[in-house]
Amino acid sequence: MNIDRLVALAVLGWAMLAAWPAQAADNTARSLAATCTGCHGTNGVSAGGIPTIAGLEQARIVTLLQEFRDGKRPSTVMQQHAKGYTDEQIELIAAWFAARK
């Protein structure tokens, strides 16, 4: 196999490997995040009165949701919502909103 062919296959293979989990995870994350946007605004940009979450640091969002879930941070509705999601879902949601800069 010559070098050109190797490179072509490597690029093709890398593109597929790079795209596949990102695409699937992106759509899953996007749909999970969409469960938040009725209150927090489309794409996490609030119309006021409820915090904007778009562009917050991913780790911060994860920490906040965990603190709400565990009752370490007082809340009215957020503990009740945060308890509905798995750690993996929380990571995906946090990453998605963090990327809405």
């Binding site: 597929m16 749909s31 938040c36 946007t37 009725g38 209150c39 605004g41 509905g84 999601y85």
Partner: protein, 423 residues
Amino acid sequence: MSISRREFLKWSSAAGASAAAGVSLRARAAGGRVVVIGGGFGGATAAKYISMWAPEVRVTLIERNREFISCPLSNRVLAGQMTLQDLTRGYGALSAKYGVDVLHEEVTQIDPERRIVETTRGTSVGYDRLIVSPGIDLLFDEIPGLNSAEARAKILHAWKAGPQTIALRKQLEAMPDGGVYAICIPKAPYRCPPGPYERACQVAWYFKNAKPKSKVLILDANEKVISKEGLFTKAWKEMYPGMVEYRPNSTLVDVDASSNTAKLEFEDVKADVLNVVPPQRAADIAMKTGLITANNKWCGVDYRSFESTVRNNIHVLGDAIVAAPLMPKSGHMANQHAKVCAAAVIELLDGGQVNPNPMLTNTCYSFVSAKDVIHVASVHKYDPEKKTLVTVQGAGGVSSAPNEMEGSFAEAWGRNIWADMLG
């Protein structure tokens, strides 16, 4: 450079595997056509989200009203705390910002075989996928005394926000001090489970401040308060002592409109203002199109995509559907249905895989006074064995007590969700 056909096919099989996993590595198919019927919490959200997530898809929204008026929060108009204008939004942004083709016409007919929607204006719109989010129609036929336009103009429901909301407020304003406001609640399921109890609170608050000798009588066909029971019962007792009477197991069988009399099974109850929320079902267009599957009232759907269980390529959202267990008929829920459906429709148009694990959440806020609010929340996930959405154990709940902070969250919820639908 060149790649042998055999080598290309070796890599292509990897692409095939990832396509099966729900990923489209080829360029997105050139669009497809979606028609959405109904521009409320479900339909407007679906139209916007499909356009936002898949701009190559042509989306047409058919909504007969030129403006959206939110029924959620409209009980506050009855207390003089909000105006109809506060609750009103236009459809301009859907077209200007998202490229949705908005038609203010009424659908007369859906042809599921030819995939065409027809309107009163003679417009014919073809679709690849149709989303029907038509809301409810009220079953006046089940209350014989409401069989005339005259009777219906006097005995109001105000269960669709707009002129009826204003008219009911006027009836309350005109009522003398010491009068009785009675509200009749139909058997569940109905649109907005906490709505009638919130309305009782709003009217009681208005009476307490404006005509304190007056009474609020709740005639509920259900066996008990079906939403936030403890919180509403406590609010009536503590905030409006001696003013609010709650009667369960009180099904309305008829009315005498001329005397404002509610006829229950075993007694007649006269009121100065009689407000009847009639039994309801999925709106006429759903019935006409054969989408109703349960109790002659509600449309069965696959909860992963909201596709009708009986009509291919047609999805149903919002109050019109057969609700999953513990899933309320709420605006918040319809907005959630719409996003799950939007994602699914985009995949289906593209030959992709629908998300097998949708999540949905709900928060319903109720104003028990001018500023104090109580909520109920739930989180729902898909159960593949039961083939339905179930509530996530340990999640969800209600407020510990009415409070003003939730009052400001409730107002903010309104602004945010209307912007999420239409902005």
